[in-house]
Amino acid sequence: MKLIEVENLVKTYDSEGVQTQAMRGLNFTIEKGEFVSIMGPSGSGKSTLMQILGMLDRPTTGAYLFEGKNINSYSDDELSKLRNKKIGFVFQSFNLLPRTTVYENTELPLLYDEDHLEVHNKEKINKALAAVGMSHRIQYLSNQLSGGEKQRVAIARALVNDPEVIFADEPTGNLDSKSGLAVMRILQKLNDDGHTVILVTHETYTAQHAKRILNMKDGQIISDELVKNRLVADGEGELLK
């Protein structure tokens, strides 16, 4: 079943009269349950693509169909609702709220889920934190955590509303290799459990943990292929560089 369909997607930024084409006509589809890496050097347009796929921004021209429906037919509030229920984000710089507990950070998306206020919130949060192995730090403040722990909490926050797809933008970029490996192991586990995962990275090594790689350059996809020797982050450090 198609989760994401993109047709001739173009994004042009207009900054002080200078037009920059970040995406020049992209076409691809992503099925439910896939694990896709979007790869490319900086300036290739991969972050722009993730922002549009994550509904944080709209394309200039072209169509983006999510679960078969063009996102341009949604209002801003409806996109907020979609982001809340169907999408989870993991960022390079964690973006946890400062001076706020692990529990409260994980709870954040639930606060904006107006259809299910106060329903089984505690269970959902505990489940998400257990899935990333952070149950023992539940009352810690975000600034008392190590980088790897912060990213695991960020993943729990992305997970808590049981989204269709998780977008991870350079999730290992600010981590040491051991913590990075732990994060990749969690993402692979989530994919094994049926979540669609889309990973944006510039590292071939990290990208190879996915099942499929979209290679971008200068706003275009230059290759789209399945990963032959997929890396599996399971053991303790055996895949460390």
């Binding site: 944080l56 801003d76 509030d77 907020s80 609702k81 982001r83 709220l97 904006y112």
Partner: protein
């Protein structure tokens, strides 16, 4: 979205930058406190003035020479000498058949002269009054007696001293029976009044009282009265008594049309009304000035909220990424602004009450009957005003925060 969450968040933000938060809140504290203080001190001052005026007696009716309209002051207050009020008017008012409710009445003339006793001398205000004076005014004698009708009509050179005048002129001596001079006329002291306390208009403790006729004929050389006061048996009868007095004096002066009146009759209720109106205007005027500082405090809130929006741009981006809508963001920042101003408002109210209380204690220690008055309504209004300032000055920063694009916010370093 739960309401407790933004309150908790704003509390955390306040605590994270304690000194900056304190400075921001200080603007609101000063504004609210000054409004409370001005309102409290204004109410107490009003109370004090009213108490002094009504202390003269609520069953007194004053008759002043010269016409005046109901609301304006009589001509004599403006320093215009009118000579139309005479002793014969006073006698007529006292006749039972004319004004049945009048129980006592006194005419008043006043002047100033040098009072001398041995080596002591002082510039002294004096008043010529009728023997009824002691009945009309709520004055007590501390020693001796008041002068009589006979002494009045006989131009007796006797005097009753206000307590301060007695003290300064005679120092430790008992003045009763002693002779002193006023405007080079010798007077015998027959009585001393008890200390009454200062009234802003004329202080009875500083005066020398003498028979009306003595003052008119010997000291001043006039035959008219400055004014007279009539004591009515019961405050309820004042309206009728005022009508009777007007009729009596009109008959005396052979006036047919009330518009031609050459005198005016005032009761204390009227005077109190006038004073209340004037002091109310002053009170609200001052509170209005104090409220300007609240406006300045509000601008401070707006400034700090704008800084807060810029500092937390990534937080806003993240909240939007996980599904917060524009109105969620607006609500959060508005609640923060209202939280800050409410905290400031409550601290301001507490400070305002404490300072007003302190002022009351100090002013009481200075010997005034100063009541500590805080109206519940001023506290309610102050609380609502501070919340409204939070809403008003928080709205622009909140809308600015809501308009941040999540994409740009998350990219912001």
């Amino acid at each position: 979205m739960k309401l407790t969450s933004p309150i908790k968040i704003s509390y955390k933000n306040l605590m994270a930058a304690k000194f900056r938060s304190f400075l921001t809140i200080l603007g609101i504290i000063i504004g609210i406190a000054s409004v409370i203080i001005v309102m409290a001190i204004g109410a107490s001052a009003q109370q004090l003035i009213i108490a002094q005026v009504s202390g003269v007696g609520s069953n007194l009716v004053g008759v002043l020479p010269g016409a005046s309209d109901e609301k304006g002051p009589p001509a004599s207050v403006l320093g215009i000498v009118t000579t139309t009020l005479k002793q014969s008017d006073l006698d007529a008012v006292l006749l039972k058949k004319n004004v049945p409710n009048a129980v006592a009445a006194s005419g008043y003339v006043s002047g100033i002269g040098t009072a001398k006793y041995k080596n002591n001398s002082r510039q002294n205000n004096f008043q010529g009054v009728s023997a009824d004076f002691i009945d009309v005014e709520k004055n007590d004698l501390s020693s001796g007696r008041f002068f009589t009708d006979e002494e009045d009509s006989g131009l007796a050179r006797v005097a009753v001293l206000g307590s301060n005048t007695a003290k300064e002129l005679f120092e430790n001596e008992d003045p009763i029976g002693k002779m002193f001079s006023l405007k080079d006329v010798n007077f015998t002291v027959v009585g001393v009044l008890a200390l009454k306390g200062g009234s802003a208009v004329s202080n009875p403790d500083e005066l020398v009282y003498m028979p009306l006729s003595t003052a008119q004929k010997i000291l001043l050389g006039i035959d008219y009265l400055n004014f007279m006061r009539v004591k009515i048996d019961n405050p309820e009868n004042i309206t009728r008594a005022v009508a009777d007095i007007k009729y009596t004096i009109r008959t005396q002066h052979r006036i047919k049309n009330p518009n031609d009146d050459d005198f005016s009759v005032r009761d204390t209720a009227q005077a109190l009304n006038m004073i209340t109106n004037i002091t109310n205007v002053l009170k609200y005027f001052l509170a209005g000035i104090a409220a300007i500082s609240l406006l300045v405090g509000g601008v401070g809130i707006m400034n700090i909220m704008l800084i807060s929006v810029t500092q937390r741009i990534r937080e806003v981006g993240l909240r939007k990424a996980v599904g917060a809508r524009n109105r969620h963001i607006i609500t959060q920042f508005l609640i923060e602004a209202v939280f800050i101003t409410l905290v400031g408002g409550i601290i301001g109210i507490i400070f305002g009450i404490l300072i007003s209380l302190l002022a009351a204690v100090v002013i009481n220690a200075l010997g005034y009957e100063w009541e500590f008055l805080i109206s519940f309504s001023s506290i309610v209004v102050a609380t609502m005003v501070s919340a409204a300032i939070g809403l008003l000055f928080g709205l622009y920063p909140a809308r600015k925060a809501a308009r941040i694009s999540p994409m740009e916010a998350l990219r912001y370093e």
